[in-house]
């Protein structure tokens, strides 16, 4: 048992004497008897570090990680290589342990990181204002919808069926609070149905919410969708995968007002889904409606450059209930990983990575759709992920592939009943041609076996 405390018996006695009480229990005397907790918590006894390590090591060993199989899982989080320098920097106590930078004099490091991060996000998205991070992707989409609500007060929000199912579900949950309603814009041939969108649009639509690339991996024609939305004065929100922004036109150049997204693929680990970070960027007109914190540049009394949190009176101080969001603790450390990762990739590398992924994705799509029993689910342009349909039960095929050490991807049927045997396959720079070829081999034989099994069963 450890509590990482230092008080010896002697310390305790001296401290009690100084306080003027005779026991620690006296300090808890204000707690009325009725709500005092008299028994021990029903938790196992504490144990030494080595044993806790052994227990958690054994638990971790029960998981099949991306080290244990060749994984083509994506669908929102991706197995990118995280350079070692990120571990080192994030492990520094100076970054790991401080609180949110409330004392600028002793937080210039974190504030500068925030500022540099914001700049990077602005560059990626082509939008002038970025905050210092929000929780993660889907909740960022939810926060963007709130911004739209604050901006125009309109209650109808349209969301493409190409938006990540988790984002759509989060929007639904939050809409109850916002007092908005969510309506889904259907897909057509793998992308958001522009005609249907136009049909649904009217001047009471407050926001149109899109995703780039969409959940099926298709690159959307954001410009056209945004233009349609703008005609009715709706705020255009797009969730973006940051990695393809090395080669795809940034949302800010295509009429998007608010670009948000999941930041995991920027230097963050998979971590079974978190912690990562969400990014949030918008046009100038929305700056006072941004959730969370923004670091800004300033000069100190001696005229030296420094950094501070800006626009901070919004929350917690003066107009507490008028706050544009309730976020407080965000994801500073993960955003640090993000900006370091982008600095590591660099201006050229960011483009080269996007190009490599686009080419490997094209190769993988071609290779897989050449398999008997695999067809493309759509033929839209793809950049890092693509969808196919299998002529066999997808869950069973996945299980067979995993037995061979290959995780072929995500079963779309869980979220899209219309694609019951759909498979979403993600590519990163860690998945080389040999691994893609191996996937093809394993997938082909799994499908063949499954068809055989079905025939036999049938």
């Amino acid at each position: 048992m450890s509590s990482y405390t230092a008080a010896t018996q002697q310390d305790i006695e001296e401290m009690l004497a100084a306080i003027g009480v005779s026991s620690i229990d006296d300090l808890f005397a204000e707690i009325p008897e009725g709500v005092r907790f008299d028994r021990a918590l029903d938790l196992p006894a504490g144990k030494p570090e080595q044993e806790v390590f052994a227990e958690l090591n054994a638990l971790a060993a029960k998981n099949t990680s991306a080290d244990d199989e060749i994984s083509f899982l994506g669908a929102g989080m991706y197995d990118h290589y995280v350079p070692a320098l990120i571990d080192t920097l994030l492990g520094r106590a100076e970054f790991l342990t401080p609180y949110t930078p409330y004392q600028p004099e002793v937080s210039q490091g974190n504030l500068q990181v925030m500022f540099e991060y914001q700049t990077a996000i602005s560059e990626l998205t082509g939008l002038p204002v970025s905050n210092a991070s929000v929780y993660e992707g889907p909740s960022a989409v939810g926060a963007a919808a709130y911004l739209a609500k604050l901006a125009n007060g309109r209650k109808r929000h349209l969301v493409s069926r190409g938006v990540h199912p988790h984002s759509r579900e989060t929007l639904e949950t939050l809409a109850v609070g916002y007092g908005t309603t969510m309506e889904e814009v259907p897909l057509s041939a793998g992308i958001t149905d522009l005609a249907a969108l136009k049909e649904m649009l009217s001047d009471d639509v407050g926001a149109v919410i899109l995703q780039q690339p969409n959940f099926l991996g298709s690159v959307e024609d954001l410009a056209a969708l945004a233009a349609a939305a703008k005609e009715h004065g709706a705020v255009v929100i797009s969730s973006c995968d940051p990695i393809p922004l090395g080669i795809l036109e940034p949302p800010g150049s295509l009429g998007v007002d608010v670009a948000v997204g999941e930041g995991q693929s920027l230097g963050n680990r998979l971590d079974f889904g978190g912690p990562s970070f969400g990014f949030f960027a918008a046009t100038q007109e929305h700056i006072r409606r941004m959730p969370g914190r923004i670091a800004g540049e300033t000069r100190d009394v001696d005229g030296r450059r420094g950094w501070v949190l800006t626009l901070q009176t919004r929350e917690q101080h003066i107009r507490r209930e008028k706050a544009t969001s309730n976020i407080c603790t965000a994801q500073a450390l993960n955003a640090l990983a993000g900006v370091v990762y982008l600095g590591w990739l660099g201006k050229q590398g960011f483009v080269e990575l996007g190009e490599l992924l686009a080419r490997r994705t094209a190769y993988a799509r071609e290779t897989l759709t050449a398999i008997d029993g695999v067809t493309a689910l759509h033929s839209q342009p793809v950049v890092r992920e693509f969808a196919v349909e299998l002529d066999a039960p997808v869950e069973a095929v996945i299980a067979r592939c995993q037995d061979q050490g290959v995780n072929p991807g995500y079963a779309l049927g869980r979220d899209y009943p219309e694609f019951s045997n759909g498979l979403l396959v993600a590519i990163t720079e860690r998945r080389d041609r040999a691994q893609i070829d191996r996937l093809a081999e394993v997938l082909a034989s799994a499908i063949a076996a499954e068809r055989g099994a079905v025939e036999v069963a049938g």
Binding site: M1, A7, L16, I24, E30, P32, F37, A40, P44, E55, A60, N63, T64, M77, D79, L85, L89, E94, T97, P98, Y99, P101, Y102, E105, V106, G109, Q118, E123, V129, S130, P138, S139, G142, H164, E169, E172, L174, L248, R269, D271, F272, G274, I294, T310, T313, E315, H317, R320, I327, T329, Q331, L333, N334, L345, G349, F350, E352, L353, R359, A362
Partner: protein, 499 residues
């Protein structure tokens, strides 16, 4: 915690001009290996860029090298590359290492930031979180291939439920405020399920700013409840305001003054009598682990800040996690998916699953399963301390706070910095700098800056709003008596020097 008043609006580079104001950075901490002149620059990584430099080397194109515009229509392709930095790895490492030294950190000094629970961050936690089985686990891995992770989450749910005294736990929310959001939406779902449309949520005037902000985001009106002379909820005011339009009362106990509200049972009764829920902001849970449970006090919904009581390092502003625990009546509405335990039929022992089939659930508040990496750390903490250790942690947190308070009541300090409510405190306490300001002309903020010069992170200032020139001090249980003594001496010295 609350922002310091001096964090003034300034321009954000990328945001264009917002009006540039000079912020008072009155003292600054020099860092090893940097001269004042070098610090002066505070150059960003962008300003250190030079065309053609790079760290990353792209893997070989081992597939057909098709021109990009044959894969993607040119209209969709980026014209101007993002202006990311161009630096080699050594500069990148050096840049961030150097700027890291401009932060104050918990491993280097005392950090008594009230309401933030800056307790020691055990490094074991970083080690277990980094195990590939955790850090390299894809969130969409099938349940059967993620049994270790699900078991850990299940066990953590159980532990948190036991600590809260409420049986049903969702780990999903990403921080305290996210937990609040979940809690108020659950309240809404609960009332609506009963056909009950309510319009108001009560929060005390000592509440943290995230409480009213949350309420607004959930479409309720905020109604403030006053504080009585002892620092607790003003029962009269509460009774007056508690009506059948009230959906919920949000409370923290001990409250943001560091005081345990002895009327908690009465408060719960008033709230429940009008059919409202009682919400527990768990930011101050570090005072009462194993000593008193929110569920037993009558709370319906509790959030935890795993980055406070449960040692997730704060990271300069996150990540955290804000799991919630709820009572039976709230359970049907809890976020999904939930981790559940199924006894397998084939005698293989239990099997853990993600349960999505929760028809009344409010749904999701974010992607995937929550901040799992944070769960690993907090679970390691709970396994290290066990029942006894958690209780001891709270006891010593309260002991340390009362001892520091006693030291600060000593002559030379108490005249200028009296405690706002002179009672036994819990894990933190509030001093008022009003006499100091009046008699010495020193504001709380000045004291804070001077503490920096003495090598201490200052306490939280100007929060709670209720107390004039407030100084909220939370030492935590992991500090030594010697550190508390030295801090008290430093405060006394500063006041002496100001006289």
């Amino acid at each position: 915690m609350s922002d310091m008043a001096s964090a003034q609006t300034a321009a954000q580079h990328a945001a264009g001009e917002l009006g540039q104001e000079t912020v008072q950075v009155t003292s600054s901490v020099p860092s090893a290996g940097e001269t004042p002149q070098q610090r002066d620059g505070a150059k960003t990584i962008y300003e250190k860029s030079k065309v053609g430099r790079r760290a990353f080397m792209v893997p070989e194109t081992d597939v057909p090298d098709t021109p990009l515009d044959q894969l993607i229509p040119s209209a969709l392709l980026r014209k101007d590359p993002a202006k990311l930095p161009e630096v080699a790895e050594p500069e990148l490492v050096r840049h961030y290492t150097r700027i890291s030294k401009r932060n104050f950190d918990l491993d280097s000094g005392f950090y008594p930031l009230g309401s933030c629970t800056m307790k020691h961050n055990p490094r074991l936690h970083e080690r277990v979180a980094a195990l590939p089985g955790n850090s390299r686990l894809h969130p969409l891995q099938s349940d059967s291939h993620a049994q270790g992770a699900l078991e850990l989450m299940y066990n953590l749910q159980h532990a948190l439920g036991e600590i809260a005294g409420l049986p049903h736990v969702s780990l999903q929310p990403s921080a305290g405020s996210h937990g609040e959001l979940a809690g108020v939406l659950l309240t809404k779902a609960y009332h609506e399920d009963r056909g009950d449309q309510r319009t108001k949520v009560l929060t005390p005037d000592t509440a943290h700013g995230t409480n009213p902000a949350t309420v607004t985001m959930c479409g309720y009106d905020v109604v403030k409840v006053g504080t009585n002379p002892d620092g607790g909820v003003d029962l009269e005011d509460l009774r007056a305001k508690a009506d059948d339009q009230v959906a919920c009362l949000m409370l923290t106990n001990p409250n943001t003054l560091g005081l345990f509200d002895p009327n908690i049972e009465e408060i719960a009764k008033i709230v429940h009598d009008v059919g409202a829920t009682l919400y527990y902001d768990g930011a101050n849970l570090n005072a009462v682990m194993g000593k008193s449970r929110p569920g037993d006090m009558g709370f319906d919904i509790v959030h935890f800040n795993l980055h406070k009581s449960f040692t997730q390092p704060h990271g300069g502003g996150g990540p955290g996690a804000g799991p919630i625990a709820v009572s039976e009546r709230i359970e049907p509405f809890i976020t999904r998916p939930q981790v559940v335990k199924a006894e397998s039929s084939n005698g293989d022992g239990p099997r853990f699953e993600l349960d999505y089939d929760r028809p009344k659930s409010i749904g999701r508040l974010r992607g995937f399963q929550g901040n799992y990496g944070v769960f690993v750390r907090s679970y390691a903490y709970i396994r290290s301390l066990g029942a006894e250790g958690l209780k001891e942690a709270s006891e010593l947190a309260v002991l340390n706070a009362n001892y520091l308070l006693a030291r600060l009541k000593e002559a030379g300090v108490a005249e200028y910095l009296p405690v706002a409510f002179d009672r036994i405190c819990m894990h933190e306490f509030v001093l008022s700098g009003a006499p100091m300001k009046k008699e010495l002309g020193i504001r709380t903020l000045d004291l804070a800056k001077r503490l920096l010069d003495h090598g201490y992170h200052p306490p939280t200032v100007y929060f709670p709003l209720l107390v004039e020139e407030a100084l909220l001090v939370e030492p935590t249980e992991t500090e030594t008596k010697e550190t508390l003594d030295a801090f008290a001496d430093a405060v006394a010295d500063i006041l002496r020097e100001a006289k």
